[in-house]
């Protein structure tokens, strides 16, 4: 199904859509407030973008340097070409260390690789420990936002879900009570887990260390209690030096939620005594994206979600409508690189307003890339007949000022004189849920000519 059709499903519950829209816009406003508090914010964005560009242009050297330093620190480094190899590597580590129970903190990469079902099929219990992730895991759904995974769920829905799975009492969706019950439930899981899987926010080539950011403390609860810690990272997570963390940690949380920094920014370098630490470096289409000059900057992404919160389409269509691990504007430029046919409608899920590019902390030209994907898709992927013929006609009309004048005149005539039930009939998508503008007697061209005469 195309994005527009999926979005129509989300839009059936109008109250929920309105809430979703407002809640995310509120997060965007918090981001603005927080960013404006920082002297040199734009310099930070420029630096972050330039550092990432430097990383991509020397990525092989940085990867080798990172591996060498991580190994010196006593960390085992693995390389995975694709999702399948990633899952196999993780499973083999768990097998070797005889692990049956795993706690996992938020990692979009393991979502991308569909690690959970793979491990579960191999008889391993995987518990997502970020509250939002746990909610969607219990609901057997994917996250709908990369920072706010359960933003599409109402508190009442969470209440019912927890009653069923955690045995909680009905509370009309009391967030304090439900969070506290989840805390107890997850504490038990942390204490019993044999291994912890985390994502990686930043990996430092110079030191071989990596940083994991959370607000809940779940990554640390898992990693410091279990005897095995596996950190899974996309290869673009590298930064050259530790001092560059100063730039990125100042940008990340402010762009994501408006916090000045996440509650916990944990710097892992060496495993604790008596424990194992593994890092899995994953390609899964990233080297291919690196080869595409027009789209390579999408690999700058630090997964803050700011482009989603600001996007008028995302806010009113919900993350699930994108049918991709990373939804929203950034997902719409990443996903076509993985499967152009499957994700061909995503670059069209945009007004090209450019707000995503304006808020992006690493200055990815998201809206320009969306436009560029459209050029490729209309050439490579068969388009609906209606769209094709309409656009062909529009092309002809717009190319001739005479035809354009006639078309404008007749449109104004029809808007003025046609009965409402025809104007707002199913055939006119522009009349759906909105009032069309009142028709004036002349257009700009006529008005201008009259004015010159006087």
């Amino acid at each position: 199904m195309a994005h527009a059709d999926e979005a129509a499903i989300f839009n059936k519950d109008e109250a929920k859509v309105n809430w979703h829209d407002k809640a995310l816009w509120f997060v965007r406003q918090k981001r603005d407030k927080s960013a404006h508090n920082v002297q040199g914010w734009e310099t930070l964005r420029d630096l972050a973008s330039a550092i990432k560009a430097n990383v991509l242009s020397n990525l092989d050297d940085y990867l080798i340097q990172f591996e060498e330093n991580a190994k010196k620190n006593g960390v085992t480094v693995h390389w995975a070409a694709d999702a399948e190899e990633h899952n196999k590597i993780v499973h083999s580590i768990l097998q070797k260390t005889n692990v049956k129970k795993v706690v996992k903190s938020k990692s979009m990469l393991t979502e991308e690789c569909h690690l959970n079902p793979y491990l579960e099929a191999n008889g391993i219990e995987v518990v997502d420990t970020d509250l939002g992730e746990r909610i969607v895991q219990l609901a057997e759904e994917p996250p709908s936002h990369i920072v706010l995974p359960a933003i599409h769920k109402t508190k009442e829905e969470v209440d019912v879900l927890f009653q069923e799975h955690l045995g909680t009492k009905p509370s009309n969706g009391d967030p304090q009570y439900l969070t506290n019950e989840a805390r107890k439930h997850l504490r038990d899981k942390f204490l019993k887990a044999d291994a912890a899987i985390t994502g990686v926010n930043f990996a430092v080539a110079e030191t071989g260390g990596f940083v994991v950011c959370t607000n809940e403390g779940n990554a640390d609860m898992g990693a410091h209690l279990a005897k095995v810690h596996i950190a899974c990272m996309g290869m673009e997570k590298l930064i050259p030096q530790e001092k560059h963390l100063g730039v990125f940690l100042r940008l990340l949380a402010r762009s994501a939620t408006g916090q000045p920094i996440t509650t916990y920014s944990s710097h892992f370098n060496k495993p604790a005594k008596g424990t194992e630490m593994h890092i899995v470096i994953v390609d899964n289409g990233r080297t291919e994206q690196l080869s595409r000059e027009d789209f390579r900057a999408s690999l700058h992404c630090i997964r803050c979600g700011a482009c989603m919160n600001t996007c008028p389409i995302y806010r009113r269509s919900g993350g699930h409508s994108y049918k991709a691990t990373i939804p929203g504007p950034i997902g719409s430029i990443l996903s076509p690189g993985k499967d152009l046919t499957k994700h061909s409608s995503l670059p069209f899920a945009s007004t090209l307003c450019g707000s995503c590019s304006d808020v992006c902390p690493v200055k990815i030209n998201i809206h320009e890339q969306l436009y560029k994907w459209r050029q490729i898709i209309t050439k490579d992927v068969p388009q609906p007949v209606v769209k094709k013929t309409t656009l062909k006609m529009a092309g002809r009309v717009l190319a001739s000022s005479k035809m354009y004048g006639i078309a404008g005149k007749s449109a104004r005539f029809m808007l003025k004189h046609m009965p409402k039930f025809i104007i707002y009939s199913k055939l006119n998508a522009w009349g759906k849920a909105r009032d069309l503008p009142e028709v004036k007697n002349s257009n700009f061209d006529e008005w201008y000519k009259n004015r010159q005469k006087k």
Partner: protein
């Protein structure tokens, strides 16, 4: 292992080398009251900040703030309230019932209310997360303006594990309602000496 094939593909597909930018710290220089800014940010992120004139009053202050805490781990000589002692060989799972941990932070950051603690300061990495409540102590002179300055200050450390902690553990995953006390410590007090 796909190491070689990945590196080969990267080498082939990467663009021509772009320079690594220099960070000009003058852009971020601000003449701010560091203690005041730090306290404001600790409170903004849901923590409590207490300025203490005399280190002798530390325990009285902590007792006042956490009157019911009985299982206490103190990682600093400044406080004598510790009732449970831990060492590197203590099983971290055993810390589950700890009421309060008292830790001396190495430095703090004014711009975001964060306190840096390293493995050496806590003996067991899980302590500041698993404890129910957390007290962090920082010296006024160790408060830095921003993260750039903080990273400069910790650049010579022995790198094992370290963490910036800004406020108590929190979540807003249920309908964006902020709830303090997710999986980590449910409260954080920063005592400034």
């Amino acid at each position: 292992m796909s190491r070689e094939s990945i590196l080969k593909a990267v080498k082939q597909n990467k663009p021509t080398s772009l320079p690594l930018p220099e960070i000009d710290l003058n852009v971020f220089a601000e003449d701010k009251d560091l203690v005041k800014t730090f306290i404001g940010n600790v409170e903004f992120v849901g923590g409590r900040a207490v300025e203490l004139d005399d280190i002798k009053n530390l325990d009285i202050e902590i007792k006042k703030l956490y009157p019911n805490a009985s299982k206490i781990v103190s990682c600093t000589k400044a406080s004598g309230l510790g009732s449970i002692s831990i060492s590197e060989s203590t099983d971290p799972h055993g810390l589950e019932a700890i009421d309060l941990a008292i830790i001396h932070g190495e430095l703090a950051v004014a711009e975001n209310g964060a306190v840096w603690i390293a493995e050496n300061d806590v003996t067991l990495r899980v302590l500041p997360f698993i404890t129910n409540d957390l007290v962090l102590i920082v010296n006024k002179k160790d408060i830095h303006l921003h993260m750039h300055s903080a990273f400069e200050a910790i650049s010579k450390r022995d790198r094992t594990f370290g963490v910036f902690i800004s406020g108590p553990s929190k979540t807003a995953d249920i309908e964006q309602c902020l709830v303090i006390g997710a999986q980590g410590a449910v409260s954080l007090t920063v005592i400034i000496l």
